[in-house]
Symmetry: D2
Subunit: 408 residues, 4 copies
């Protein structure tokens, strides 16, 4: 009794059924399996201990929603050929394969290439392994395929990627308020002139989706403690790189050493070069960084050791949004408290800006609403829901607590 | 093995535990048991077949949240004496007991008194049955008790009543997007100078709460089909009343006959009179109206019969928001379709306005935010979330579909 | 923008999508709409206040599962023609339409015909309204269609009817332990030689299903308080009938009067007669009985009045399983407590037996397991889970509490 | 605005509130934080990709249930002093701290000591850090405290540990059928003569609990693929140890090297020695093993490399329960398929037995039921639910698939 599909359990959708063939072949490939070891939300688990879910699960989830969406659109008479369906599924399945260790938290820091660019490289590499298999997927993913809605379902204001990650992140963090009605939104999708539109009845669900997204930003993605952890991770990595390059610290990890010492740049490199980069990059996941953190808790370098210890034992920096204190103020407080090594201390006080924007109404991929009478309108025109257009920015300052400083 | 509490199962909260004593005595009283036969959301079940939940369950739920809220506030050091606790619980348990058949859908139509006024009468009547038991509850419910936050927990911008009904209505309708994080909001409650405040960390949850509320308004409470059903119910009742008063139709129901023939007014009447009204009013629930609808499907009066048939068999009127057609236009369409009895038809085309306002920032009970440093700020000042202050109004027109007209 | 389907919201499955055509026509028919007023679980809401869900919602839910099951089977290569699909959907949609007021609680008491028999009459009547439309549905429902698995999906040890009602009843009562993994079981269905089988991997889910079912029986369906309420309802109805027949009490309800006075029997009657019965029967629902209960709270007859008052105000009888007291013992206790009207009291003490059987292994419709190697085995053979074969019986005694007796 | 508690988000219970003081101090300690990096269910995530939850989260959950249970028991009049409460909470919080990398999957393999023994060592060590703080916890944990029910709540047939892990594992795997009604069971707990008992009304919930547990065993804990992954992990570790000891392979990990080379035995060693072991052991978590797996994918040793590659890329062995093939049969199949290196192949075919027992009725910690009349009875006596007493055993054979063998 052979089946022609494989079932994955998902606490969110129940079952995810994937037909045997190229989709499962890709999933079984070590490059894709590696995503089992890359957490979806970087350091968020430091604040929300349940948030250990991975890019692997997210991509299966996005694929699941994609299958639902296509089935709904076909029911409404939208024409989608079987090969377009497969190409689209491959594109959404692989759209995030380019993520490296800790996803966004270390984005462009191990390799100075955006993860979507790397996803494209993986698709091209798969296209060599299974010749031609990725042609359509690549065309859709790079938005060169005429049926634009397929691209918009992967990357738009209301796409399936966002639908899955909002749902999934809210599920695993336990921030119930981020829950969105993905099934309702999917039911409201339609296509006019190859463009994705939302049927009028879906307006409230879209508003809810945008609010949920905004809420998840401030409550989860930009949570000050989780942000502090990510800053620590970034500073840890930059310090480690610097020490390795200057020969002051050594690690045993071939792939990490390769990326620290080579200057990799996507655009210049021809594919041969890319393939080598890619194979090397495909060896990396959270484990490698987490292991280096653990190792570095015994490092000689004070800064590296402190960051490693803090990260490993969750003694995280304090982060304040819209702070009144300047870097100088914090330094003085440290001095008063008896910490006087200004050289090191200065490197432990970080300032920056976080920004977030819910919905951009002037961009070209804005949400289009299909009225019952068949007219198309811009969402901003129709919604009674007013959203600030300006980008919301928050300055911050971030520095260690005394308890951690004591370990200097 | 006697227990000193009773447990009610609730699909939403799991268990609702209520201590034996005056609270359970009130719940066991026929006046309160009657609420088992009054649907929470009037005719909403015509659109959302699961929405058959009752005022009874809602009040138990609100009481449950009240117990959680008080427990949380006491943990934070807010002083609340046992008798205040009981008074508060009684006030929230009884705040909706004044609702009559179909709750808001027939509000003030059977008796021209607002349901809160009637709730107060019931409290006073219970105060006679169990002398003095309701003193504090009445003081809190009428906002004369100095600890204003107790009143605000029952009736404010973010009160426990709303928390339960949003949660409950969204649960039973299956409109998952209305779900709110009641437990999180309750955790964020605090009291300053006897006023209810929300701790700063709760801002996003409040925003979510306001959006969920707005969404529930347009998607559920003011759903056009459910609104059509409620208009039909109101016209049915007014027609029935008129026919009974003019002797053209008779019903066998003593209590209904009493209210149709007597002119009842709350303010003038002294308590003796009220008690009689109350006893009579306490006999009424959804069953009585639903039975009269079924009976009237055989009525001689065309209008009454049509409305009864439509309500009973869910052949509901069409309702259009912001319609282009005038009453005259609709009438002409009817004529073209062969329906020419203008006398009756005119009475079957209804026009009106629905309004909704999410949050009023200039009113005195606005939401107050307690910052981490202890400052108080108005929610509208702090939230990055902009909401239109103006009341949103929607005109509508409502008229029968042909299928129903054929039964004239 | 016309759609060719209608969506029903369901708190359990999210959306139930039903294509326009005969299925929706049947749903829109007054006979089917009537099921909106028949509670799925009789008097269970007296114990679990959330259990107000209806036969209407249950049948939509069963239809929804049916669509999932067929889609899954077709994916596995089971051949099912479009007209078979429709016939099957109609059969499952209508399999419970014969239920009358309070479903099982008054089964065979208003009309001495089992509800399945009446469901068949309704199907035949629909077959006259839309000629030929029900041919296949009737053939499947009466188990005369060669593809036996279609019948087994409606009525078998693990059928879709049970799957929906266990899920639905557990959802609305809030008895979370009754939850079953309907989607997993449905995934495990298969067909061999036109017989429904369960794939081996589904054994644990079946065991869980059987345990959940048993748990729901004792915790919900045979809950002693809910059983007491149902016994009160039955005695109320029998008393009312007797008083009406003997002219001691009168009701204004034509359809109820018809059934009380006529002797209706299914088998003898030819269809003409059936159609009249059916039209009359189709006028009845919970409202009618609930209204008579409310009316009877003022009846002259002591017994009727007491039962009506108790039912209306939830002053329910006490029920003890496996009681030590005999009827005589209870009577003596009553006497000691000062209640001496033995004539009435005797009629208020009821004795009986309840039984429940989880799984019958010797019957012909037993569960068949399909092993990975393709062998068929009886479930009882394969499962490590031992279940008692004997029927579990519980004697009970049921009588009023003093508080209610005081109203005699 | 300082709070005296900390809140942890939990997707399962919503919020877990923990008062500041010794409980939070313990949680903040690196030894406890380390549990953030130890997966609760070993290799289960290979089958259920969501199962990445940790011992850290499980222990917070068990503590949460403990607080609920104590609050419920106190409400029923069971006397529990504040210091007993704290001791009990510490005991349950720390009962699993002794787990090492991959929990049960490598149990007793890195150190030949059972994890509960190690948990006790940690408690004793904490008792040195915060003198006396653990006295009561240790007394309860070792079942020497007179109020036996406190021990039984941690380790009994129906304890809070099991309640949390069944709930949590079923939540994260998405195996909805494992869900138990923990709140209901907790409501049914009571104490008689210092022994934990279950009130009669809770019998069905207990039965459900036992079935859910059994289901989780076969469907999750002993899932054949997850079992295969664990066997691979164990063989990987044993091979690695052997190669390191014999000098054929070297790793850079000080703590791992320490345990591989030292022979550690709990009973003989005095505490000084233990403290060193403990500090070293406390450095280990899943990361270390996962890193060694990744490293070993390049190892020279064929066997080690194959296991590492298979584990890292999820090319898992096939496992058959109750197999017909012997080791010899499998070997022959391999030969036929062209794999002839019998020396290596023999080491890749594993045989064994798995066992599971739901409920032991003859042991001293059996479940005691408290009847409504106050009698105590053994669960097995009262339940109508018959469970096989004998231990269920399943033989298995486990070997690589061809795809993986090709990499030899």
């Amino acid at each position: 009794m052979k089946t022609n599909y494989k079932i994955f359990n998902d606490p969110i959708y129940g079952f995810i059924t994937i037909p045997k063939g190229i989709l499962l072949d890709v999933i079984d490939h070590p490059w894709f399996q590696r995503l089992r070891r890359i957490k979806q939300t970087g350091m968020t688990h430091m604040v929300y201990p349940g948030a250990l879910h991975t890019r692997f699960h997210h991509l299966l989830g996005a694929l699941h929603l994609a299958m639902q969406a296509i089935s709904g659109l076909k029911q409404k008479g939208v024409e989608i050929a079987p090969e377009e369906e497969e190409g689209f599924y491959l594109a959404i399945l692989l759209h995030d394969i380019g993520h490296g260790p800790f996803s966004h938290a270390l984005e462009s820091r191990i390799v100075p290439i955006h993860h979507e660019q790397i996803s494209l490289m993986f698709m091209k590499a798969f296209n060599t392994i299974w010749p031609g298999s990725m042609d359509l997927a690549i065309s859709i993913f790079t938005n060169r395929y005429p049926k634009t809605f397929l691209y918009q379902l992967i990357s738009g204001q209301v796409d399936l990627d966002r639908m899955d990650y909002l749902k999934r992140d809210s599920f695993y963090t336990g921030v119930a308020e981020g829950v969105i009605g993905h099934d309702r939104i999917i039911k409201m999708l339609n296509v006019v002139d190859n463009q994705l539109v939302i049927e009028e009845k879906g307006i409230y669900s879209i508003e809810k989706f945008l609010v949920a997204r905004r809420l998840m930003y401030w409550q989860v993605y930009l949570h000050k403690t989780s942000l502090a952890a990510e800053l620590m991770l970034q500073h840890f990595w930059e310090r480690l790189k610097q020490l390795v390059i200057t020969g002051q610290y050594s690690i045993h990890h071939p792939a990490l050493n390769y990326f620290i010492n080579e200057k990799v740049n996507a655009k210049e490199s021809e594919f041969e070069k890319q393939y080598k980069i890619l194979s090397c990059y495909a060896l990396l996941d959270d484990i490698d960084i987490e292991f280096e953190i653990k190792q570095a808790t015994e490092a000689e370098d004070e800064l590296l050791r402190l960051l490693a210890f803090g990260l490993n034992n969750r003694q995280l920096f304090r982060l304040e949004f819209n702070p009144q204190d300047t870097k100088e103020d914090v330094l003085q407080k440290f001095n008063k408290a008896g910490f006087t090594n200004s050289m090191v201390l200065k490197d432990l006080i970080w300032q920056g800006i976080e920004r977030n924007q819910i919905y951009q109404s002037n961009v070209k991929d804005e949400i289009i609403i299909l009225s019952k009478k068949g007219d198309l309108k811009r969402f901003a025109e129709v919604s009674e829901f007013e959203m600030r257009q300006k980008i919301i920015e928050k300055k911050f300052i971030c520095y260690p607590k005394k308890r951690l400083l004591l370990r200097l």
